[in-house]
C-alpha cells in the first residue's frame, strides 16, 4: 500500500512524573473527585505564573534520546493561543521554534516483512488541557462540565514524518513507541487518556486529512482504514479530497468532518515570557549515560545470551514487564524452554483475560518450566496449571499438580500399560499391520485409560508404535 501516506502526532502523558508540568499539583488524579487536583497555577487564575517542572524536561530529553533525536542546545516555550472551555488560560504553553528534540527515528516491522526506520520530525513538550464531560452524548448534551484535574499534566508530542503506509504500520509504530516509553519509565499506558493520536493521511496525489484525538491503538487502525476507503471511493467517483480536520466516531466507526482548511486555526504562537529559555545541552550526557537498555538492544541480547529465536526475543521484549519477568524466570529455569512457555502460552492466556504479567508469580513460572524440563508434568498439564493459577483455582503449581493428579506417571508404569494394551488389542494390531495407521489410536486410547490421562499422548503414541513394530 505504498500509495497510502500516513504521519502521526502522538500526545504522550508523562504520567510517571509526580507533579504537573508547571505547578506542584499531583499527577495522581485518575480516581479523584473532579477539580480536586488543582491550584491557582493550573486553573490559570489571574496573577498566577508557571514554574517549569525540571523533571518533566529530563523525561522529555530521555524520550528524545531514545528516539535517536538531536537534543537542542537551548529550548524555548511558546504560547499557543486558542479558546476552549477546557483551556483555562485561553492559551496552552507549548513549544514551537527550538523544541526539545528534533530529527530522530525508530525501527518498525513493515508490512513487507522488512524492518525499517520511521523518521521522527520532532518531540516537544506542552501542558495538557482539562477534560470536558458532557451530560449525555456530545451532540445532545444539555450542558457540559469541565474537570481541570488533567489540566497541566506534562505532555510530550511526538511528530513523525509521513513514513507510514498502512494502518497496520501505524499500529506497529505506536506499539514500538509505547514499548520504548515504558522501558524509559516515563509512561504508564494503562491509565485512561495517557496516549492520544492525531493522524494525517492522504492517498498519493491527493490532499491530506487530519483525524484528531483518537484514543486507543485499535481506534487508530480503524479510523485510518475507514479514511483510506473513504478517500479511495472519492477518487473513484472523481471527487476531490479536501484538506480538513476530521473526528473519529468510535461508535459508528467512521470519520466525520469537523473543520475545513478555511476555518483553520491561527494559533498566534509567540514566546512565553513567564518562562526563561532553558539551556539543556549540558543535561544530555548524564541522562544519556543513565538510559536503560531499549527494546531493540534487549531483543538482540536475548537472542545471543539465551539462544532464542528472533520471534521469541521480540515477543518477550515488546513490554518491559514481560522482559523483566522472563529474565527472572530464565535465571531459575532453562531459558529456551522458559521463552517458549512465556511467549507462546502465558502471554496468550494473559491477553485472553486482559491481564498483565504482574499478576503471575515468577517463582511459579520457573517451577512450571522446571517441572516440564524434568518431565514431571505434561504440556497439557502445564497449560492447566497456568490457567488454574490465573483463575484463582489453586495457590501454587505444586499444589495444583497434587490436588488434580497432574503428575506425569513413571515411565515404567506407562511401558507396562503399553505392553498390556498391545496384548489386549489383537484386532487393532492386525489392522495396523494391514496398513491402517489409525488403528494405533485405538491402542493409545486404551493406554490413556489405563494411565488415567497422566501420560503424554505423543509419548504414548511413540511407545505403542514401537511395541507393535516388535510384533
Amino acid at each position: 500500500m505504498e500509495d497510502v501516506i500516513i504521519g502521526l502526532e502522538i500526545h504522550v502523558q508523562l504520567n510517571r512524573l509526580r507533579s504537573k508540568m508547571f505547578c506542584g499539583c499531583s499527577t495522581d488524579y485518575h480516581n479523584s473527585e473532579p477539580n480536586s487536583h488543582t491550584c491557582p497555577v493550573c486553573l490559570g487564575l489571574p496573577g498566577s505564573l508557571p514554574v517549569l517542572n525540571k523533571k518533566a524536561v529530563e523525561f522529555g530529553i530521555k524520550v528524545g534520546l531514545a528516539l535517536n533525536c538531536t537534543i537542542e542546545e537551548e529550548t524555548l516555550f511558546y504560547r499557543k493561543n486558542y479558546y476552549y472551555p477546557d483551556l483555562p488560560k485561553g492559551f496552552q504553553i507549548s513549544q514551537y521554534d527550538f523544541p526539545l528534540a528534533t530529527r530522530g527515528h525508530i525501527m518498525i516491522l513493515g508490512d513487507d516483512g522488512v524492518e525499517r526506520d520511521i523518521r521522527i520530525n520532532r518531540a516537544h513538550m506542552e501542558e495538557d488541557p482539562g477534560r470536558l464531560v458532557h451530560a449525555g452524548t456530545i451532540d445532545k448534551a444539555k450542558y457540559t462540565m469541565v474537570d481541570y484535574n488533567r489540566c497541566g499534566m506534562p505532555l510530550l508530542e511526538v511528530v513523525t514524518e509521513p513514513d507510514l503506509h498502512s494502518p497496520k504500520e501505524a499500529r506497529a509504530f505506536l506499539d514500538k513507541l509505547k514499548s520504548i516509553l515504558e522501558y524509559l519509565e516515563v509512561f504508564d499506558g494503562s491509565l485512561e487518556g495517557s496516549m492520544r493520536v492525531d493522524a494525517n493521511i492522504s492517498l498519493r496525489g491527493g490532499d491530506r486529512t487530519e483525524i484528531k484525538n483518537i484514543s486507543g491503538f485499535k481506534g487508530v487502525e480503524k479510523a485510518l482504514s475507514y479514511e483510506i476507503t473513504r478517500q479511495k471511493n472519492m477518487q473513484r467517483r472523481n471527487i476531490k479530497v479536501v484538506q480538513e480536520t476530521r473526528h473519529f466516531d468510535e461508535i459508528r466507526n467512521i470519520t466525520v468532518s469537523i473543520r475545513s482548511k478555511v476555518g483553520a486555526h491561527d494559533y498566534r504562537y509567540f514566546p512565553e515570557c513567564d518562562l526563561v529559555g532553558l539551556r539543556i545541552a549540558s543535561w544530555v550526557p548524564a541522562i544519556k549515560a543513565a538510559l536503560p537498555e531499549l527494546p531493540d538492544a534487549k531483543r538482540k541480547r536475548f537472542v545471543e545470551q539465551y539462544n532464542l529465536s528472533d520471534d521469541h526475543a521480540k515477543s518477550l521484549t515488546s513490554e518491559i514487564k514481560v522482559a523483566n519477568f522472563y529474565e527472572a524466570v530464565a535465571a531459575r529455569a532453562p531459558p529456551k524452554l522458559a521463552a517458549v512457555w512465556i511467549a507462546d502460552v502465558l502471554k496468550g492466556e494473559l491477553n485472553y483475560r486482559d491481564r498483565t504479567v504482574d499478576c503471575f508469580s515468577q517463582e511459579h513460572m520457573a517451577e512450571i518450566v522446571n517441572m516440564l524440563a524434568e518431565n514431571k508434568i505434561t504440556e497439557d498439564g502445564a497449560v492447566q496449571i497456568i490457567r488454574d493459577l490465573l483463575d484463582g483455582r489453586g495457590s501454587s503449581p505444586d499444589e495444583i499438580v497434587r490436588s488434580k493428579g497432574l503428575g506425569k506417571i513413571e515411565d515404567d508404569a506407562v511401558q507396562k500399560a503399553v505392553r498390556e494394551a498391545v496384548a489386549e488389542s489383537a484386532d487393532a494390531v492386525a489392522d495396523y499391520k494391514a496398513g491402517s495407521e489409525r488403528a494405533l489410536n485405538f491402542i493409545v486410547g486404551v493406554v490413556m485409560k489405563k494411565t488415567r490421562g497422566k501420560a503424554s499422548p505423543g509419548e504414548v503414541h511413540r511407545l505403542v508404535k514401537a511395541e507393535v513394530e516388535k510384533i
Partner: protein
C-alpha cells in the same frame, strides 16, 4: 515619613489613625479607592495597638492597586469582567507586606487592566488629581498615586508596564519607582504585558520607597523571571559628589512642555550644585520605542486577557447559551473600549503573516533600545530627564484620541523595554501642577538612583508641598 508615622502609631493608636483615614476617604471626591478592607484593616490596627510586634511596617496602612491579588479582597483590575472575583491567594508582595505587619487598607483605581496613562478607562470612572480635580492623576496606577498625594494613604503599591507608576507619581507630585525587571516577584500581579511590568511603590518620600523596596524585593521561586539574591537599600547614601549623570538628548525638545523642561533643567542644575557632573548622551532609538512598546504590550495583552471567559470567575451575566455565544457575550460586556482595542490590535500583530512584520520587529527594536541604555551607562552612572513631557491634562481631554495618549508615554516606555530601573521624584511645578524628574539606573542598581533622588529631595522643598484639600 513612614518612619515618623511608625513612631506616631506606637505612641498613639493605629486604630484611631486608620479610622481618620477611612473617614477622610468617605468624604473624598478623588475616587482613588475602589474598595476598602475596613473590617480586616481595623481589626489588624486594634491588634497592633495591643501588641505592635516587630514588623518593619507594623501598623502602617497601605493602599494596593486593583491588579495585585489580595486574598479575600476583590481584585478586579477596574474591569467589569472581573467584578466579584475574590482571589484565593495573596500576591508575593502582599505576603511580604503582611509579614512585616503592614495593614492592607483597600484597593485603588486604575486604568482598566493598566491600559492607559490617565485612570480614565476604569469601570469605576476616572480618579481625580488631588492638585486639580478637573485633571487626571496620570495612570495607570492613578488611584494609588492620588490617595498618597491626597493624604488618604501613607503609601501604596502600583504596577508599571510602560510608566504606570512613574506617570501618576509625576502628575500627583509624589515618588514612584519602577524596579529592574525581575527584582520584585510578579506572582499575583494580574498580567497586562508580562515581559515589561514590575510592581513598584508610590510614596511621599524617597526613603519610604526604599523601605517598601526592602520589603517587597527579592527572589520568589514562584516567578521564574525573579532574580536571585536580596538587596538592601537603607540607609540611603547621601550626596551625589562624583556621580556622572547622562542627559539624553532625545528626552528634550519637541513635544516637551516648556515648563516641564525648565523644571527638569533646574533639577539637573541643583544636582550639579550638589556635586554631580553631567554630560549629554544619546539614546538614538527613543523614537522607535513607542511603536515597539505598543506592539509588544498589546500582543502580550491579547494573550494574557484570553483567560477571562466568565467560566470560572468574574462576570457571568444573563442566561448561558452555547459556549461560543456565552463567551463572546461576556467579553463584549465585560471589557471596556480601550481594552478591546488593545486585544484586537495585539491579536492582529500576532497573526500569521503579520507576526514577523510587527512582533518580531518590535523585539528587534527592543534589543536596540536596551543596547542604547547599556552604551550610555558605560559613560555615566545614571540618566536624568522628564518623567512625562507634560503636566497632568484635563479629564476627557485625550480619552477620545488614543494616539495622543500613547505619545505621553514616550519617556517612560523605553525604560520598561530595557528592563532598567527608574524613579520619578517631584522637581517643581508647572503652574499649580507638579512636575516629575525621572532618574534612570543600570540594571539592579536601584541604589544609585535612590541616592540621587534622596539627595535631591533633601535639597528641595517640592515633596513637602501638599495639595489643598478641596
Amino acid at each position: 515619613m513612614l518612619m515618623e508615622l511608625k513612631e506616631q502609631l506606637l505612641s498613639g493608636s493605629a486604630e484611631e489613625y486608620l479610622s481618620k483615614l477611612f473617614l477622610k476617604i468617605e468624604r473624598s471626591s478623588l475616587n482613588g479607592f475602589t474598595s476598602l478592607a475596613r473590617e480586616s484593616a481595623l481589626q489588624q490596627a486594634r491588634e497592633f495597638d495591643k501588641n505592635p510586634g516587630k514588623g518593619r511596617l507594623a501598623g502602617v496602612p497601605i493602599a494596593i492597586k486593583e491588579c495585585i491579588s489580595t486574598k479575600g479582597i476583590e481584585t478586579n483590575c477596574s474591569s467589569n469582567i472581573l467584578r466579584g472575583y475574590i482571589p484565593p491567594y495573596d500576591a508575593h508582595v502582599i505576603q511580604q507586606l503582611k509579614a512585616e505587619g503592614a495593614i492592607i487598607m483597600g484597593k485603588t483605581n486604575m486604568d482598566e487592566f493598566a491600559m492607559g496613562s490617565s485612570t480614565e478607562t476604569s469601570c469605576f470612572g476616572p480618579t481625580r488629581n488631588p492638585w486639580d480635580h478637573d485633571r487626571v492623576p496620570g495612570g495607570s496606577s492613578g488611584g494609588s498615586a492620588a490617595v498618597v498625594a491626597g493624604g488618604e494613604a501613607p503609601c501604596a503599591l502600583g504596577s508599571d508596564t510602560g510608566g504606570s507608576v512613574r506617570c501618576p507619581a509625576s502628575f500627583c507630585g509624589i515618588v514612584g519607582l519602577k524596579p529592574t525587571y525581575g527584582l520584585v516577584s510578579r506572582f499575583g500581579l494580574i498580567a497586562y504585558a508580562n515581559s515589561l511590568e514590575q510592581i513598584g511603590p508610590l510614596t511621599r518620600t524617597v526613603e519610604d520607597t526604599a523601605l517598601l523596596m526592602e520589603v517587597i524585593a527579592g527572589h520568589d521561586e514562584r516567578d521564574t523571571t525573579s532574580a536571585e539574591g536580596k538587596k538592601s537599600y537603607l540607609p540611603i547614601k547621601e550626596g551625589v559628589g562624583g556621580l556622572k549623570i547622562g542627559i539624553p538628548r532625545e528626552y528634550f525638545g519637541e513635544g516637551v512642555s516648556k515648563e516641564v523642561e525648565r523644571a527638569v533643567w533646574d533639577a539637573i542644575n541643583t544636582l550639579e550644585g550638589l556635586g554631580a557632573t553631567w554630560k549629554e548622551v544619546s539614546l538614538p532609538h527613543t523614537k522607535n520605542a513607542l511603536a515597539a512598546y505598543y506592539v509588544i504590550a498589546m500582543s502580550e495583552a491579547s494573550s494574557n486577557l484570553a483567560r477571562f471567559d466568565g467560566l470560572r470567575y468574574g462576570l457571568r451575566p444573563g442566561e448561558d447559551k452555547d459556549w461560543h455565544t456565552t463567551f463572546s457575550d461576556i467579553r463584549a460586556k465585560g471589557f471596556g473600549p480601550e481594552t478591546k482595542r488593545r486585544i484586537l490590535l495585539g491579536t492582529y500583530a500576532l497573526s500569521a503573516g503579520y507576526y514577523g512584520r510587527y512582533y518580531l520587529k518590535a523585539l528587534k527594536v527592543r534589543t536596540l533600545i536596551k543596547e542604547d541604555f547599556l552604551r550610555a551607562f558605560k559613560d555615566v552612572d545614571l540618566l536624568a530627564g522628564p518623567t512625562m513631557p507634560i503636566p497632568a491634562f484635563r479629564i476627557g481631554e485625550r480619552i477620545n484620541d488614543p494616539l495622543s495618549l500613547y505619545l505621553a508615554d514616550v519617556f517612560t516606555v523605553p525604560i520598561n523595554l530595557a528592563g532598567v530601573p527608574a524613579i520619578s521624584v517631584p522637581c517643581g511645578f508647572a503652574g499649580h501642577l507638579p512636575v516629575g524628574l525621572q532618574l534612570i539606573g543600570r540594571h539592579f542598581d536601584e541604589a544609585t538612583i535612590l541616592q540621587a533622588a534622596h539627595t535631591f529631595e533633601k535639597a528641595t522643598p517640592f515633596h513637602e508641598r501638599m495639595p489643598e484639600v478641596v
